[in-house]
Amino acid sequence: MIYQAGNYEVVVIGAGHAGCEAALASARMGCKTLLCTLSMEHIALMPCNPSIGGPAKAQLVREIDALGGEMAINIDKAQIQMRIINTGKGPAVQALRAQADKQEYYREMLKILLAQPNLDVLMAEIEDLEITQDRVGAVITKTGARFKCQAVVITSGTYLKGRIIIGDVIYDGGPGNQFPAQKLSASLLNNGIELGRFKTGTPPRINRRSVDFSKMTEQPGDERPLTFSFISPRINRPQLSCWLTHSTAQTHQIVMDNIDRAPMFTGVIKGRGPRYCPSFEDKVVRFSHKDAHQLFVEPEGRHTDEMYVQGLNTSLPEDVQMAVLKSIPGLENVRIMRTGYAIEYDYVPPAQLKLSLETKAIEGLFTAGQINGTSGYEEAAAQGLVAGINAALKVQEKEALVLKRNEAFIGVLIDDLVNKDIDEPYRLLTSRAEYRLLLRQDNADIRLTAKGREIGLVDDRRWQDFNSKMETLEKTKTLFQQNTFTPADLEATAFLKEKGSAPLKDRLSWWDLLKRPEIGVSDFENMNWINVLDEDIAEQIQIQSKYQGYIAKQQEQVKKFEKMENRRIPVEIDYDEVYGLANEARQRLKEVRPTSMGQASRITGVNPADINVLYIYLEKKRRN
């Protein structure tokens, strides 16, 4: 029997990385919010790798932070190792990466959720959505509770009709042997949402005490670990190491000897898996010329013996997994603690979404995270934040937040999802961002804090910190731009000589001097020309001066891009009425329903001629 159980403004279904952000954002924006989870013990679960960050993902985490999300702060609390990756390759691709204590990550997030005003957390499986006149009105739990609401955010991860595959052992299940969500898919289908099927996988976990680390290479954390959040305190906990080993010819032989038992090749697995995260058996078959694949052994936390074997995700039968592991240097006597598996799940092909992550078919229904065909905790959290914000804005009858491709990696992510044909789980890469040099992890706060403030997610303390940072930054910039050296300055001349830097020919500003590769802000500090700067100020000065030329180039490109973005397409446009569109373009435009000419031009299947035709149609319309 269905009974009336409560009334909320926003209901979030699923408490993973997307769900937590969505629920917190909505509640913090003043909406009465319900967060439903299948298991109270598995909130903010990291069912795959124990790490957050890395190229493109670190940018996302910093952006989440600047907008007032939680992931950055939470991983700063739960980290056991911090490392900067890609140093020396340029500021745009430098990326922080954390190894997480999974349990601690869960506990810290739970604390935040429970302490959040306006937010209730409930253990329940949502089986049905109540939709009236294409608008969401309530959710109904397995046990018959009906919660009225004005907006719903589905962040179901890989739980929708989840199916676990280990060799020939196949059963219904969510990640980490959780219950799957069996009914929600049907509710979505009944309400006109199309579903697709993807596959992903995870490696076995092994017992630390059974590993011989002497045969592996140690990968320590940074000596001075940085934080993701712009407001986290400095980290001074001891850092744990990861370990590097590799597969052997014997390993590959074992895989090949058992390939007829691999579900990937027997046809048991039908869902499309990600190419950037192939299963180990896939790697062995496709890259047969390689005689070793590197494998990282990573701790899953401070208070557990479980370790993650990065590079070995597999759905081979358990006995083969064991044999494979034992052929790896350092794992000769290994004991498995969890078996690796592949998981198939339903997802919502994201062309059905608006850029706000609201579904086009059902008003008030938002989806975020893996349900949208993405992979990665960070991609999920970023979407969750945006969906939560927009659900709240919807309830408050305000305009949705849409980040553009030149503003944030979050913008690139969502724009890609909506406009591209997504035929495998989508992972963000720095190379997907055409304005990468502007979207750095170091300037996420400069790019987005004001937006977060406007939405209402940036509190006074963060806002004041940010403003005082900006003030110092501007002052310091002026200092560097206005002060100059001349060839007559003896101290400067001696300094340049010592640095092996060319002598001055004319008057040169400090700012321009910084553009020389061999000169850095620290030189100005060491020479006592300036007081010692805050690290983040020094970093900004350094990057903004040294890369000024390339940054300016990208800003030029952005100007062109924005012109197209600013040409809006009215929502009521009827593409059947547009004379001269190619059939495929018409089909895709009807599907995606772009909001701007810029967006239209990025849709797979829409050509420049179609864009011209569209321009003419709109102008004609405007005149009538």
């Binding site: 790798n49 745009a92 694949h293 062109k560 197209m564 004379y579 009538n624």
Partner: protein, 460 residues
């Protein structure tokens, strides 16, 4: 996209006395003025009234003259497109118009898409809504024709070649991006390999551009000016080349008072031969005009044949004429009247004064040396262009523009390689990919990502 300045040749391709280069967009007058030199001083385009014609020249990068033109200007909204417009009437025919357009494009003006002028006219309210559909038909028809043409070209050797260039760049980009996004899986960037790939793609582009130039030589022809002091046999030479008597030939100096143009096919190349008036100091006004025109014709010519008279010997006048050709890169020295007994020019004189020139001993009267001249003209105008047996010589202007654009970006990457961080390199690399990708309509950015996954073993 829709408020930049665009330009194109708006008269039909093919032979025609006059061709019009049309330019539209805010700031068009200012831009064109930079390469325009009015015939009458003070007739700066910016000071001219709309709908007036101004006679002058389009200048090349070295301030030399590309063509004599009549320019009309129109101001917004009173023009075809409703925007500020400049129309350049090129007098030199199709080839000259093409060169003018190239010069115009070098100013940062974008080559117009098919139907784009008409489209702008509509968008700016210069046409009513009924006409709008006609505009769409134009766009469709032209792009579809363009597409068919492109598809036809795709079957050809050039498309294979462009594809191979794209692949080189794609691989370089893939190596760079993979090492940025998957550094732990892949390791350090192999700069040497990236440099090799970028250099090969640049050299390939150059090859293709040269093939295009060669194609232009055979398709659109060249101009050859014959010059020399009076009565050395310039007109006879022209006639020998034409194999027919058209120019009046007399023994009185100064007979050829104007510039005479004739068209002839030399070794398969359409050649416009310009017989210039005998250049000399003169007080005769009519003749003076002829000489001025001759000077201009010489400066515009692709190649100059300098004629000496073996009987008259070498004089200071010959040297003066030679010195006046200093801007010309291609000069052939033809020593005429080699049939006569009086040899007042010796081999050693030639070596002393014209050591850098190719020399032909000829007799226009007896058709001696004419074939050698024809062969030498061909050799000189195709020199450096003919190293592409595997290429077809049809490179369209649009392709040329994109190739040049891509080349510029590639060059910038090459110059910055190992000096700037990798993410900065990515900026120009990406631009190069976009430019090249437009040639074949490939989404190279997406393909590059695909290739990373195909070629590298990546994954957690």
């Amino acid at each position: 996209m829709y408020d930049d300045i665009i330009g194109a040749i708006s008269t039909p391709l093919g032979e025609g006395g006059i061709a019009i280069v049309r330019v539209s967009g805010e700031g068009a007058i200012e831009k064109i003025n930079k390469v325009f030199q009015p015939r009458a001083p003070g007739k700066d385009l910016r000071s001219r009234k709309p709908f007036t014609l101004t006679l002058g020249y389009i200048k090349d990068e070295e301030q030399g003259i590309l063509d004599e033109v009549l320019v009309s200007i129109m101001k917004s909204p009173r023009s075809y497109t409703g925007e500020e417009m400049v129309e350049i009437n090129c007098h030199g025919g199709a080839l000259a118009a093409k060169r003018c357009l190239q010069r115009v494009l070098s100013l940062g003006i974008r080559l117009a898409q098919p139907g784009e002028f008409t489209q702008r006219a509509f968008l700016n309210g210069k046409m009513d809504a009924v006409q709008a559909e006609a505009v769409i038909d134009i766009i469709r028809a032209k792009t579809e024709r363009g597409l068919k043409l492109a598809l036809k070209q795709m079957e050809g050797k050039n498309s294979q070649y462009i594809k191979s260039l794209e692949d080189l760049l794609l691989e370089a980009n893939m190596l760079l991006e993979a090492s940025l996004d998957f550094s732990e899986d892949i390791g350090d960037l192999d700069y040497r390999r990236v440099r090799e790939l970028m250099e090969s793609s640049r050299d390939g582009i150059d090859k293709m551009l040269r093939a295009g130039e060669l194609g232009d030589v055979y398709k659109e022809g060249i101009s050859v000016a014959i010059c020399g002091k009076p009565n050395v046999g310039k007109s006879s030479l022209l006639n020998a080349l034409l194999r027919k008597e058209r120019a009046i030939v007399t023994d009185v100096p100064g007979t050829t008072r104007d510039v005479i143009e004739e068209y002839v096919n030399i070794q398969g190349i359409p050649v416009k031969i310009i017989d210039t008036a005998g250049i000399r100091d003169t007080s005769d006004l009519v003749e003076k005009i002829g000489i001025d025109k001759a000077r201009q014709a010489i400066s515009e010519a692709d190649l100059v044949v300098l004629v000496l008279d073996v009987e008259a010997g070498m004089t200071e006048e010959d040297m003066n004429i030679y010195r006046s050709l200093e801007k010309q890169e291609r000069i052939i020295l033809l020593i005429n009247k080699d049939d006569l007994m009086a040899k007042n020019i010796k081999q050693k004189d030639i070596e002393r004064h014209f050591s850098s020139l190719d020399v032909i001993w000829a007799s226009t009267k007896d058709d001696i040396g004419i074939q050698s001249l024809a062969e030498m003209i061909e050799k000189k105008v195709t020199a450096g262009l003919a190293d592409n047996e595997q290429l077809e010589f049809t490179v369209s202007l649009r392709q040329k523009e994109l190739l040049k654009e891509a080349r510029q970006y590639i060059q910038e990457v090459l110059e910055a390689l190992e000096l700037v961080p990798m993410d900065c390199l990515g900026v120009d690399m990406q631009n190069a990919l976009i430019s090249l990708g437009q040639l074949t309509g490939r989404d190279l950015k997406e393909e590059s990502i695909d290739r990373i996954f195909r070629e590298f073993c990546i994954g957690k």
